[in-house]
């Protein structure tokens, strides 16, 4: 890793250009150096080609990991990418964004004899990047089925579903509220994971198969209804994501300078100049997941001088893995455990700090006294919630706002399937959204082929 540029004694409050554009670009460099051809083959040779491989079982999309790694070892990255994309059309994004240390790489048997798994994520990235660079063509559409499916949301779930349906010969219209395709791939994943406009490149690759129309600026529940979808299409898939942030429910939460982490990252991802994004000098992040880590790190990389992430429980309970915690620490983020926000301290309507009480460890006992962390910017990263869609989804069976689905991702309403973050029981990962879309597409295809659902 290259050393990061840091700011010193910059202006208090929230300000843009704490670091120059060049320093920002430097800081937002590749999170892991991609492998080159020989490095990839050498790493691939470390794979034991396990029987009934645990890495394969650990992958939510069931990619044949040892199979594709062997192809890389044998100078066949195009074949490797084919194997990956067959199960996971977003293999490129997943290779960049998956928390592999809790998925495939966690399962790798090499952890036991070598203390170091095969770097499956980097190998997957190598293969898929090669394939995208070389415009290898993997999919051709089955003959036109004459059936059409309406998909809501062009995020990982929606696109994965649309792609598979298109391959199977159906025509798909994807209704997307926003201007760009990709969902959180475009608006949510950390900037350093998705350099060089990768979300758009991948989206173009996915839609290039044909038979997929993306209707931008069309908001479900606003521009059209479920009845409209049922009218126009033979089947419906909902891949809406969540779209709303949870609230802390503490005094002072509405002060200026308190923001939902997802909104901040959204702006950052869309900025043409990173240094144009205003950020606090002293930043407090509340939360314990991937988003908390991402917003803390990105604030630091933009030149925030003091970034403290506060989590109410301990390191083991944190949703962000040990590797992600270290990733943040190495970039200068301070992580504090066992403290919960009590109120946002503010002056003249703007935040000046956050008061915490000490939760005191596993026994849950409060340990006075409280403490205050000074802050001129506070990020809430305590998960997303499905509130915005409450009305549109009123007719569905739901659990804490999220859609209840069966194993085939069928909702409580016939002819409507759903997947990704908007369904209950998921783990809010890109890779799981892709798997949902894929399973739903298989089920939709089966239903349509049997003549069902008009």
């Amino acid at each position: 890793m290259e050393l990061i540029a840091t700011a010193h004694n910059g202006p208090a409050g929230i300000a843009a250009a704490r670091l120059g554009e060049e320093d920002c670009r430097h800081n937002f460099c590749e999170m892991h150096s991609p492998l080159e051809a020989n490095g990839a083959r050498v790493e691939a040779e470390r794979c034991y080609f396990c029987f009934d491989a645990p890495c394969l079982e650990a992958c939510p999309t069931g990619i044949d990991v040892p199979g594709f790694i062997r192809m890389i070892a044998n100078h066949n990255p195009a074949g490797a990418a084919g194997l990956i994309l067959q199960e996971n059309i977003m293999g490129g994004t997943c290779a960049r964004a998956c928390p592999v240390e809790t998925l495939c790489e966690h399962a790798c048997v090499r952890n036991q004899d070598d203390d170091r798994p095969v770097t499956i994520g980097l190998l997957q990235r190598y293969a898929v990047d090669q394939a995208l660079d070389q415009d290898v063509n993997y999919f051709s559409r089955a003959s036109d089925s004459g059936r059409s499916v309406g998909v809501v949301g062009a995020g990982p779930a929606g696109l994965a579903c649309a792609h598979r349906l298109a391959v199977m010969g159906h025509s798909v219209v994807v209704y997307e509220a926003r201007e760009k395709t990709g969902g959180l791939n475009e608006y949510g994943l950390a900037a350093y994971k998705m350099l060089n406009d990768f979300a758009q490149r991948e989206s173009r690759f996915i839609t290039s198969v044909g038979g997929i129309e993306i209707a931008h600026g069309k908001t479900f529940g606003h521009d059209f209804s479920l009845a409209d979808l049922r009218d126009r299409h033979d089947g419906v898939f909902l891949g809406l994501g969540l779209g709303g942030g949870n609230t802390l429910g503490i005094p002072g939460e509405t002060s200026a300078g308190v923001e939902d982490a997802v909104d901040f990252i959204d702006r950052l991802r869309q900025a043409t100049r990173l240094s144009s994004i205003p950020v606090g000098k002293r930043v407090v992040v509340i939360g314990g997941g991937m988003t908390a880590i991402d917003v803390a790190v990105q604030a630091k990389l933009l030149g925030a001088e003091d970034v403290t992430l506060v989590y109410r429980r301990g390191p083991e309970q944190m949703k962000a893995s040990a590797k992600e915690q270290d990733f943040a620490r190495i970039r200068g983020v301070t992580i504090r455990f066992w403290a919960q926000p009590e109120s946002v301290v503010h002056q003249d309507g703007s935040v000046t700090g956050v008061e915490f009480h000490v939760t005191g460890g596993p026994d849950g006992q409060r340990r006075p006294p409280n403490f205050v962390l000074d802050a001129d910017m506070v990020f809430k990263a305590i998960g997303q919630a499905p509130q915005p869609l409450a009305e549109a989804l009123a007719g569905f069976k739901r659990e804490r706002g999220r859609l209840v689905v069966d194993a085939n991702r069928l909702t409580s309403q016939a002819g409507v399937w759903a997947g990704g973050d908007c369904i209950a029981g998921g783990d809010d990962l890109t890779v799981s959204a892709v798997q949902d879309g894929k399973l739903a597409a298989n089920a939709i295809h089966e239903t349509l082929s049997a003549g069902g659902t008009d």
């Binding site: 050498v42 040779e45 029987f51 048997v109």
Partner: protein
Amino acid sequence: MSELKTSFIGIESPNPFWLASAPPTDKAYNVNRAFEAGWGGVVWKTLGEDGPPIVNVSGPRYAAMHGKDRSVIGFNNIELITDRPLQTNLEEIAQVKKDWPDRALVVSLMVPCTEEAWKSVLARVEDTGADGVELNFGCPHGMSERGMGAAVGQVPEYVEMVTAWCKQYSGLPVIVKLTPNVTDIRQPARAALKGGADAVSLINTISSVMSVDLDSFSAVPTIDQRATHGGYCGPAVKPIALHMVSDIARDPDCAGVPISAIGGVSNWRDAAEFILLGAGNVQVCTAAMTHGFKIIDDMVDGLSRYLARMELSSVGQAVGQAVPSLTDWQHLNLNYTVKAQIDQNLCIQCGRCHIVCEDTSHQAISARMNGRRHYEVVEEECVGCNLCVTVCPVENCLTLRTLENEVDLRTGRMIKSEEKIQWTAHPNNPMAAPDA
């Protein structure tokens, strides 16, 4: 630490590691560096007859087979004998021997198959003060097509004849370097002895085509779109060399012949193996060519410690110690029974043992226990073949256990340790001799 000083057919060297006749020994510059690094001796790159110098290709002359992590496993060359003038080589040899009197300096020779040619070159070599000559009857490419090298080595009568000339016209010790490109290595070895050779050295390189370039449809190394077979050496040839060395060591007709072993020696362990199978010293080429001369440090230190550990005070005491272990298949004890066993504490659950046994062998390793990944040997099926041990990535996790006075669950037979039975006496052998 044991003494490594050796005397091989009267040629003294501070250790048994010589550089084989090849590019590392082609000039004084290289040889001086080798001796500075600590090598015990060299066999100078093969000299030819006087006259217009040899012409080598100016395209690539080497190619390799790489292993994991790009280490060189096999090496191949289409180089000829020295392409420098004979006189230059002889002058350098004389000077080097003068500067390094304690090191072995043997001169490799290959001239046309006439008495006159050998006679004249031998006289000039003797004048340099070199310790001996090695007759290159082995080079499989280029020179063999001109009636030299392997072309001589493949015909025992020629081997004997040329060896006899050398003994007749020179007082120097004669080592005959054998080509492995024959069906039975004992034939040329016996011929060399008949001709009066003091020792044999082996192996020279094995005829090989290294690979084919899949884009250009040309074999490799490619010289202007064409290629030719070369000579194969390096770690990959060691098992072949071990077999040939031991075949000579076991041959009653070759009893006691000093052997200088060559072929894939890369470290002290390889050297020790050759010595135990009958070699008096070893020669090294590829390992030096792929790592430089400094590898000698490990060779010397490792061998010396090994000999000490085995309570052998000199190299000589180790020579041939493993030869009696080699026999013919029919004399193996067919009553000896082993079973695979898995150390569950070391097992990383990769399942390789299961899948190879399941797909290609005896279905003797189960994959699940109570629905979980768990690999266990099924002794009722295990024939003790060693395949699972071979593929297990963890050292000492899968091992073979010898049955001693217990029932073989596969055959139901009691295995009595003291009961030995060879094929020659086996009841299933129609030709068995009852008391063999």
